[in-house]
């Protein structure tokens, strides 16, 4: 508080004094009333719900991330062919701009709110009742037949603190899934004809690559993907799922997580990552893997189509290997989530679009071809024809394997709004550079997690 105390000694004279007095008066006047909260509707449940779109023309306004504009435009055009009365108007913004403005877009008392919105996490928006409760539509459209795990991350308890339980607030049109990309050509040069089956196999491959003068593994220096996959490999999906969804008493401060952090640090110390590991961001990492620089690369299926184009036939993708080979697979996965703002006046049409995008085979084909991710919906619905031997084909197979063993978990970075940029990224940089011990790494993540969730 030293600088606060020092400010007390400034003699308020002239303009400064007037400004200080004015400020103090304003603060005193306002301090008794809390900011915010006034715009919150009481109930975010739709009144009547219907599958009938009527005959009057409807224009749905949709806010999407800029990188999904083409995908959504294709979906919108296909939807209009089936439902000519519904026009979808797309506003695309850079992801960080959209996500920073979401609270304001949702809360603004304007007369023309969007009807559909890309929203990565539901927590605060659901708690503040700014997005529509979709339970009645789930019943109407029989979404109960779709594997429940696809909706887990979109359920929020009524106090907004816990995910995975409570009402449904969004729909995932497609799924991202993280796994291990490997360069088949480098693997063959090193004498490996099969992808690694266990964690020990993978470690042997990395060691061989290093001793042969290759870059064993590439990834962003601040990415916690590898740590989370290793935690999954040691602990299985249950504790990670509970932690990411904010279950009461969930903790990352466990022996398995410490072992995962130890492994990350060991791999860094053994030189499996490039010398400038800390300087590499996601764009640089995928770019250098696409140039054939490294044997292994941990990231999501959303890069598969691009890697197939850059290194045709050379890139494989598998679910990250576990400690033991028992056939179970697990990985983090995030739905490409869309929600209906509570103020939308066209929620029947918006829900009809979401249901169509989830279940129609044409929409599912567009999801694979245009977005390069796995479509949601019922597991045995026909997927688009994709050539075997490509990374894209591998990602679809991997998602099925993981989905079947019920191994889909959310990302550590989605556990709270601040944890990715505020904790995971800087702490992982400290871990790989040996400046924080594996024990302190998980302890700090747990402490910040509890602070973020107000525990």
């Amino acid at each position: 508080m030293s600088s606060m105390a020092r400010s007390g000694r400034l003699r308020p004279t002239g303009m400064v004094g007037t400004a200080v007095a004015f400020l103090a008066a304003m603060v005193v006047l306002q301090a008794c009333s809390a900011p915010g909260g006034g715009a919150t509707p009481d109930d975010a449940e739709p009144g009547a719900v219907s599958t009938d779109l009527g005959s009057a023309p409807v224009t749905l306004r949709m806010h999407v991330n800029a990188d999904q504009r083409d995908y959504m435009a294709e979906l919108a055009a296909a939807f209009k062919q089936e439902h000519p009365t519904v026009t979808i108007e797309i506003t695309a913004e850079p992801p960080e701009v959209l996500q920073q403005n979401v609270p304001r877009i949702l809360a603004a008392e304007n007369k023309n709110p969007p009807d559909l919105l890309r929203l990565p996490t539901m927590g605060d928006a659901a708690k503040n009742r700014l997005v529509l409760n979709l339970d009645r539509y789930a019943e109407l459209y029989k979404w109960g037949e779709i594997p429940a795990s696809q909706f887990t991350q979109l359920r929020v308890s009524s106090d907004g603190r816990e995910k995975g339980t409570g009402s449904l607030y969004g729909v995932g049109l497609g799924f991202g899934v993280v796994g291990l990309y490997y360069n088949k050509k480098i693997a063959q040069e090193l004498g490996f004809t099969q992808p690694p089956a266990t964690l020990a196999d993978l470690e042997a491959m990395l060691a061989k690559a290093k001793s042969s003068g290759k870059t064993a593994m590439i990834g962003a220096g601040n990415s916690s993907f590898l740590f989370q996959l290793l935690w999954l490999a040691h602990a299985g999906p249950q504790p990670i799922s509970e932690w990411t969804l904010g279950a009461p008493d969930a903790t990352i401060d466990s022996p398995e997580a410490v072992r995962a952090a130890e492994t990350v640090r060991r791999w860094a110390q053994k030189g499996y990552f490039p010398a400038d590991h800390l300087a590499i961001d996601e764009t640089a990492a995928v770019g250098r893997f696409a140039k054939g620089e490294a044997l292994a690369y941990v990231n999501g299926n959303w890069f598969a189509a691009m890697l197939d184009k850059q290194l045709p036939g050379q890139v494989g993708f598998i679910p990250f290997p576990l400690v033991a080979m028992d056939g179970r697979r697990t990985a983090m996965s995030a739905p490409l989530t869309y929600a209906i703002p509570a103020r939308s006046t066209h929620h029947d049409a918006a829900a009809a679009f979401l249901n169509w995008a989830l279940t129609s085979s044409q929409a599912r084909r567009i999801t694979i071809k245009s977005a390069g991710i796995v479509p949601g919906g019922v597991a045995d619905q026909p997927a688009a024809e994709v050539a075997p031997g490509t990374a894209l084909y591998d990602t679809l197979t991997a998602f099925q394997q993981i989905s079947r063993s019920d191994g889909l978990v959310a990302f550590l970075g989605d556990a709270s709004e601040g944890i990715l940029a505020g904790t995971l990224a800087p702490q992982t940089q400290l871990l790989v550079s040996g400046r924080v011990s594996p024990e302190d790494y998980v302890r700090k993540i747990q402490a910040d997690y509890q602070r973020d969730l107000g525990r």
Binding site: M1, S3, M4, R6, S7, L10, V16, A19, F22, L23, M26, V27, Q30, A31, A34, P35, G36, G37, A39, T40, Q100, P103, R104, L106, A107, D124, K127, N128, L130, G221, N222, A275, D276, L278, A279, S416, E417, G418, L420, A421, G422, A425, P426, Q427, Q429, L430, S433, R435, D452, G454
Partner: protein
């Protein structure tokens, strides 16, 4: 109602409300008493309104938010000074304040000293195309958008960037490293970007100061047998007192309130190594949605800037 009648009570009210009692002197026409005051406020009204609306009001809101635990949209909980306690107890947050003070060396001290030396040298070259060219080049960083400059610098600092290429070419490859990504070099590296930016500003400011100094002072110094160093210490430095204060004030504020360069080049990393209050405020407010905590940090930053800038202003006043 006549003009006189209308103005009578108004004068009375104004007098009671604390307007200057000097105007109440008897024996002068009544309407003269109000006009200068009223006109003054009228002329200031547009600027005062804008200042109140866009500076004082948001400022008071920031102070108000800083007393709450608030996500920016939902309902807020009053928590008193807890946010301020967090600013000074959480290592990630108070280390940001420490980094801001470390940056003063690069943003303020280095450019001021370099600027003084450059200005003294340029004074002697003051005629000719060469001097104009040097002045333009030095001032150029001021004309480049900060974000663009920061991106260019990240390329220079990259592992295969120009700086490392040069080091490898001249046989100093051992020194080559990703400057912005290594824990020990990241803060000095962003500091150098700040120095690059501020040197031109300082030099041009000092050149202007030298330009308005009486040339006879330099002649007198020369006649008295002063060398270049003596001349600099005895004439240039005292003459530039006010410019130096302006330069130090402005650049210290750049250092304490730095944001663009760091947000673009490192985002506060690696670890928390280059985190400064400006970046921390944005991350807390717009990524973590901790509007209360971000506001408290902003208030602390404001107080820090005032504590440094106001005493400096006092130094600048002529005795």
């Amino acid at each position: 109602m006549t003009l006189q009648q209308w103005q009578g009570p108004a004068t009375h009210r104004a007098g009671r409300a604390g307007f200057s009692p000097l105007n109440a002197r008897p024996g002068r026409p009544r309407r003269r008493r109000v006009r200068p005051q009223l006109a003054g406020w009228l002329w200031m009204a547009p600027a005062l309104t804008a200042y109140g609306l866009f500076v004082l009001y948001p400022l008071s809101q920031t102070v108000r938010y800083s007393l709450y635990d608030w996500d920016g949209v939902g309902s807020a909980v009053f928590i008193g000074l807890d946010n301020y306690a967090a600013v000074f107890s959480e290592p990630e947050l108070y280390s940001a304040i420490v980094h801001a003070f470390e940056l003063i060396v690069f943003f303020s001290f280095v450019p001021t000293v370099t600027g003084l030396v450059l200005a003294a040298i340029l004074r002697e070259l003051s005629t000719g195309a060469g001097a104009t060219l040097v002045r333009t080049l030095l001032f150029l960083p001021q004309a480049i958008p900060l974000a663009a400059a920061a991106i260019a610098w990240t390329w220079l600092y990259a592992n295969n960037g120009l700086i490392n290429q040069v080091l490898r070419e001249v046989g100093l490859g051992r020194l080559a490293r990703p400057w912005l990504a290594e824990f020990d070099t990241a803060l000095p590296a962003v500091g150098v970007i700040g120095s690059w930016l501020a040197v031109g500003f300082a030099t041009v400011l000092f050149l202007a100061g030298i330009g308005k100094t009486d040339p006879s002072l330099y002649e007198a110094a020369r006649l008295d047998g002063a060398g270049r160093v003596r001349e600099f210490l005895a004439v240039t430095l005292p003459a530039l007192r006010q410019e130096i204060v302006v330069c130090v004030t402005v650049t210290v504020i750049w250092a304490l309130a730095s944001f663009d360069i760091i947000y673009v080049s490192t985002r506060g990393g690696p670890g928390y190594q280059t985190m400064v209050p400006g970046v921390a405020i944005v991350l807390q407010a717009f990524t973590a949605h901790e509007v209360g905590l971000a506001s408290a940090l902003a208030v602390v930053l404001l107080v820090m800037v005032l504590c440094v800038a106001l005493p400096l202003q006092r130094l600048g006043r002529p005795e």
